[in-house]
Symmetry: none
Subunit: 240 residues, 2 copies
DNA sequence: CTAGCACCTATAGCGTTGCTATATGAACTG
DNA sequence: CAGTTCATATAGCAACGCTATAGGTGCTAG
């Protein structure tokens, strides 16, 4: 029930914080609990981490490593959309496995201040969507698609966490997941919906844009390329 | 800067709490601030509301009335899916207009304990989806569809709130909204597009070129387009 | 070997938090 | 008028995040 006394105080604080955060069941964790478990006094905490949030950030950073590792560890199946599916599922699973940590990472939102974690997660998702875009499987700019999918992913995970564990129905996740992926993918026939106007021009422009990000061609000078990309963006951002 | 002294203490507490919550910009609001603004002492608060959370719940209940009123106030257009769109937009707008209240209502999540508000919002959404289902426009059970859409709606709203107001891009909302609605609606056909993953800058450029031949975009002027096509040709003619 | 210095940790305590035991006043009820 | 109930106030507790200050430790320089 205590922390290995051999470790340096900083590491003991990190472990104690992580342990209490994991076991607290969502209840707030006090610095006094942490320092007591770490067998350390208050100023030590503030010396190493500045304040409570600094300590939590450090814990989150560790948790994020774990999260990112999970998001990267499966072999890229060669089917980007399938990889995005697994990314989604991994995200949800991470949230359900470590709800308190997840809430600190994605749930502790304040207006006008986005935690860095969210931006990183966005980048991760965007990276994957770039591959899909390069393969012409996406009909929306990768950045927007990534933000959209991630927002839905977070929303679903939060909703699942808020539910009693016995009632949790992962169908909510798969349904929403496939809905989002389906909606941004080109792998659909033009229905009568508003998306039908999203012509193949836009799709091709998005794909080319993504491909160019991966490898700059030497057929254009840098100034030409700059203007070229601008026009490309203008085309791929059109909504009609 | 103070609360109408004519009102009974209970109402004054409610107003003070709402006012401080709205102005706090996400920072925690203390009971002492509230009671001071309401010109009342601490026990009065606890006599009427039990505890701080009880007071906030009461504030939220009032906010929820406003929210529900907004969700109901537009005439049912006869097109359930269109109504759901407006419901979504109204939800987002409510969140952006009163971010602090919204965060108390939808963001203050703890594991295994779902705020009643969420259940109510779910019911509202489900109600609307029932109409869509009755019209044969839904290919998913209304309850699941409602939960799924609401989860995405909340996720998007939270993400928008977390962003600096200047960077907020409502396209994220409309994109996700239409994606979700499109995915649960019957108004779609199974896809046939099978452009496999063998893409590159050249392939994408060729595809874009072909697409542009079919329909010229109006985002570029004719002179821009001419140069654009020339560069495109240069890229797609390369051998790499 | 010692002086000095930077680093790390502890003692003690400040100001604020949510909340309450107790008491007092007012208003209705028998 | 006595009794009860409701509503508010006085005063204060325990816990919170945090810090001013000081003391101990290990290093390097002379």
């Amino acid at each position: 029930m205590s922390i290995d006394g051999q470790l340096p105080p900083k590491a003991r604080l990190l472990r104690a914080a992580a342990e209490l955060l994991a076991k607290s069941g969502g209840a707030p964790v006090s610095t006094r609990q942490i320092t007591k478990l770490a067998e350390v006094t208050a100023p030590t905490l503030y010396h190493h981490f500045g304040d409570k949030e600094g300590l939590f950030d450090a814990v989150v950073a560790a948790g994020f490593e774990e999260y990112v590792a999970g998001e990267r560890d499966f072999a890229p199946s060669g089917q980007p959309l399938e990889d995005i599916r697994r990314m989604w599922d991994n995200h949800v699973q991470f949230g359900l496995n470590q709800p308190e940590l997840y809430l600190v990472m994605f749930g502790n939102i304040r207006p006008e201040s986005r935690p860095a974690i969210v931006a990183d997660a966005e980048g991760l998702m965007e990276e994957m969507l770039n591959k899909a875009a390069a393969a012409g499987q996406i009909n929306v700019p990768p950045r927007e698609a990534a933000r959209s999918i991630l927002a839905a992913n977070v929303g679903v995970t939060l909703m699942l966490i808020a539910e009693p564990a016995t009632e949790r129905n992962l169908e909510l996740s798969t349904l929403t997941r496939d809905a989002m992926i389906f909606a941004v993918s080109t792998d659909q026939a033009p229905g009568a919906g508003a998306d039908s106007g999203r012509s193949s021009v836009v799709v091709a422009a998005i794909a080319l844009n993504a491909a160019l990000q991966a490898s700059n061609p030497d057929q254009l000078s840098s100034s030409e390329l700059k203007l070229f990309l601008e026009w490309l963006h203008r085309i791929s951002s059109s909504n009609t």
